[in-house]
């Protein structure tokens, strides 16, 4: 269960929040984690076939932290994922076909071919949209943005909570600091989840921060700090649910550190040459979140091997169907490229060399030719 760091009060005693989850919900946790992993495996295949036109980002080994934490949110809440939170997005309603189309830059992808990978979202009216906000690449920026999102909840008296993911690396940014601090003083209903996965690209955590644990930063911000084993999906759910309840009750910001491990490189191109020998293999063998949870399901809930196999088969079927659908979609029409930078004007004009070059380059010539002529045509 949640470990609180020195200086913070343990908010929960007795029952774990996950005790209240039904058997079906506990199986759902498995489903989301496995779906995340299998969908990424499918993306690897498509990447190798060059059908994924950009980089590919994996969350291998981190599925529990994304799924378990997001599972603590309600549909009306808003979540802002980071690059290794595909699992959280799926929990919040993103579909495999959307993810596949997005990676393949299809015309009918969520961003119509404008943005990469899992950089997409769906927010707006509570109860109408799925409530996840697309990230941008500069790290930490989503923290202040989610401060504003949750500030709107507070101002309007809405019973909604925000949750934003950052990695260990993003905690070094000014945006992270300013965002969590502003949210703290405003008592915004915001949960900041720090996924400590050991590396930011190639930079190990000890070069990122001299703090022993990121949860210790909570003291400095005067917010609730909670920490859990990010590879234990139920523990992840427990701390995040506690944090979400804290925020929902009007007590303000909570910082949750989930300790996990990034088994793949920053992106698919990264050969992880900077990782000590044996480290990845050891995490894979001893601390795989899906293996661990399957064991819990079998031993604690009496879930049979065939029941798990049926979920696995369903996932593969869903991903096959999604892949077929995504492959059918076409690429974007180039005329769409100039649409929608502003609400007004709704579209930019093509540059003259993309229009009728003859007309545009020479059509505006001063009719009298070069020289000293007045606008009315009289010679000066």
């Amino acid at each position: 269960m949640a470990k609180s760091r020195p200086g913070r009060v343990m908010p929960v005693s007795g029952a774990r929040p996950s005790d209240a989850l039904s058997r079906a919900q506990k199986l759902e946790l498995y489903y989301w984690m496995k779906l995340t992993r299998q969908l990424e495996e499918r993306l690897v295949n498509l990447y190798r076939q060059t059908k994924v036109v950009g980089g590919l980002f994996r969350s291998l080994g981190q599925e529990a932290d994304a799924v378990g934490s997001c599972f603590a949110l309600e549909q009306r809440d808003v979540m802002s994922p980071l690059i290794r939170n595909l699992g959280a997005m799926l929990v919040k309603g993103a579909t495999p076909v959307e993810v596949l189309k997005q990676y393949m830059a299809k015309a009918d992808s969520p961003t119509r071919g404008r943005e990469l990978n899992i950089h997409f979202g769906d927010i707006g009216e509570a109860g109408v949209t799925r409530g996840f906000l697309g990230q941008i690449s500069p790290l930490g920026d989503m923290v202040p943005v989610m401060t504003g999102v949750t500030m709107s909840f507070k101002m309007r008296g809405e019973d909604r909570v925000g949750l934003v993911y950052v990695g260990d690396g993003a905690t070094s940014t000014g945006a992270f600091h300013e965002g969590i601090n502003f949210a703290a003083v405003q008592k915004c209903p915001l949960v900041v989840v720090v996924e400590n996965n050991g590396y930011a690209y190639s930079t190990p955590t000890h070069k990122q921060s001299a703090a022993k644990f990121f949860v210790d930063k909570a003291i400095g911000y005067g917010v609730l700090g909670l920490q859990a084993d990010g590879n234990d999906v139920l523990a992840t759910y427990d701390v995040t649910k506690t944090a979400v309840d804290h925020a929902r009750a009007g007590h303000g910001v909570a910082l949750v550190e989930l300790i996990t491990y990034r088994r793949k490189g920053h992106a698919e191109h990264d050969n992880q040459s900077y990782v000590p020998a044996g480290e990845i293999e050891q995490w894979a063998a001893e601390n795989d979140p899906i293996d661990r949870y399957a064991q819990v399901l079998r031993s604690d809930l009496g879930v049979s091997g065939s029941e798990i196999a049926a979920i696995d088969a369903r996932i593969l079927r869903e991903i096959d169907e999604a892949t077929d659908l995504a492959e059918l979609s076409g690429t974007p029409d180039v005329r769409e490229a100039l649409v929608g930078v502003y609400a007004e004007p709704p579209s930019e004009q093509p540059l003259w060399f993309r229009r009728d070059a003859e007309a545009d380059a020479y059509g505006q010539e001063r009719p009298e030719s070069w020289g000293t002529w007045n606008a009315d045509g009289a010679k000066r």
Partner: protein
């Protein structure tokens, strides 16, 4: 009706917009209880309360980011930079996040970032800047920079109502020095429309903000030499009123661009390029620029005045154009 100052005009616009639309709210440093470093937001807290007039930590990134998040959810934040020089802290948030939001993610970002800008006030390198050109380069942002009190009010109301992010530059030299009687009713000046500040026939000066007044002063002096100067006040820098610029160039065939900002990479270079591409045949002389020197703005009055464009510089440049 009584005249009010440029500063009071901005305050009046904020009051009226907050009265009109409960989604409008203000955030910034010392804007509530203290009323802002220049007192632009004085009285807002008493009228609208802490929920809508938010005193923030010293966090420009968080202010702009939180404004964006609130704007996504349907609110219309107005963020104050205590001095516009500090907007540099939020450059990433404005250019990477806010400016791209509609295009990349179909997210509305109706928000205003406003603040005291400009020199001639002995403010030194960090309380005198004109960083507008640094944002002109980024698609997705709108930029306005009024020179008159009436435009300050009308453009602020337009900015608050705009569905995209508007950077609203306020010239602090003009805050209490220029006044207007406000037009009746709901005075909104559309973004993207320049204004003919003075009609003329021999030379056009395209300018904005503080240097509108210097250009008008120069035009008076040049009238005594029988040189008729037309002065165009851009008011909006993004989108820019190209047609107004081309119209005046085709009328006078001579163009001087004046701005208080530094020279290299400034607005004038962009305007020159647009005129070159579209009005080359109408020009009877090269386009000239009068701008600040490419120098961080110094504090000492003699140094500041030497670096910034002055009326005499404009007069000299116009004479050169007419003599060409």
């Amino acid at each position: 009706m009584a005249e009010i100052t440029y500063l009071e005009a901005i305050r009046e616009a904020l009051f009226e917009e907050m009265e009109r639309d409960r989604n409008v709210f203000c955030m910034g440093q010392d804007i509530g209880a203290f009323g802002g470093a220049f007192k632009v937001t004085e009285g807002l807290l008493a009228r609208f309360g802490e929920q809508r007039v938010i005193d923030s930590p010293i966090s420009e990134i968080a202010l702009v980011g939180a404004a964006a998040g609130a704007a996504h959810m349907g609110l219309r934040p107005v963020v104050e930079m205590q001095f516009i020089d500090f907007i540099a802290n939020a450059y990433d948030m404005l250019t990477n996040y806010v400016a791209t939001a509609r295009y990349r993610a179909f997210l509305p970002c109706p928000m205003v970032v406003r603040g005291p800008s400009g020199g001639y006030v002995r403010g030194g390198p960090f309380h005198s800047q004109n960083p507008e050109a640094g944002f002109l380069h980024t698609p997705g942002l709108k930029i306005v920079y009024p020179s008159t009190a009436a435009d300050a009010k009308g453009l602020m109301k337009a900015a608050v109502r705009d569905d995209d992010c508007v950077l609203f530059f306020e010239h602090k030299y003009l805050y209490r020095r220029v006044k207007d009687v406000m037009p009746d009713g709901d005075h909104v000046v559309p973004i993207g429309q320049a204004r003919v500040a003075r009609e003329g026939s021999d030379v056009s000066i395209v300018t904005y903000a503080s240097t509108v007044w210097k250009a008008l002063e120069a035009a008076d002096l040049l009238a005594a030499e029988s040189i008729s100067v037309e002065v165009i006040d851009l008011r909006s820098l993004a989108p820019m009123d190209d047609e107004a610029i081309f119209r005046t160039v085709k009328k006078t065939n001579r163009l001087l661009i004046v701005h208080e900002d530094t020279r290299t990479g400034g607005m004038a270079g962009e305007i020159t390029a647009r005129v070159n591409e579209t009005c080359f045949e109408w020009l009877d002389a090269p386009v000239l620029r009068v701008t600040a020197a490419d120098i961080p703005l110094p504090y000492a009055p003699a140094l500041e005045d030497y670096v910034l464009p002055q009326t005499a510089d404009i007069v000299r440049a116009v004479r050169r154009l007419t003599a060409y």
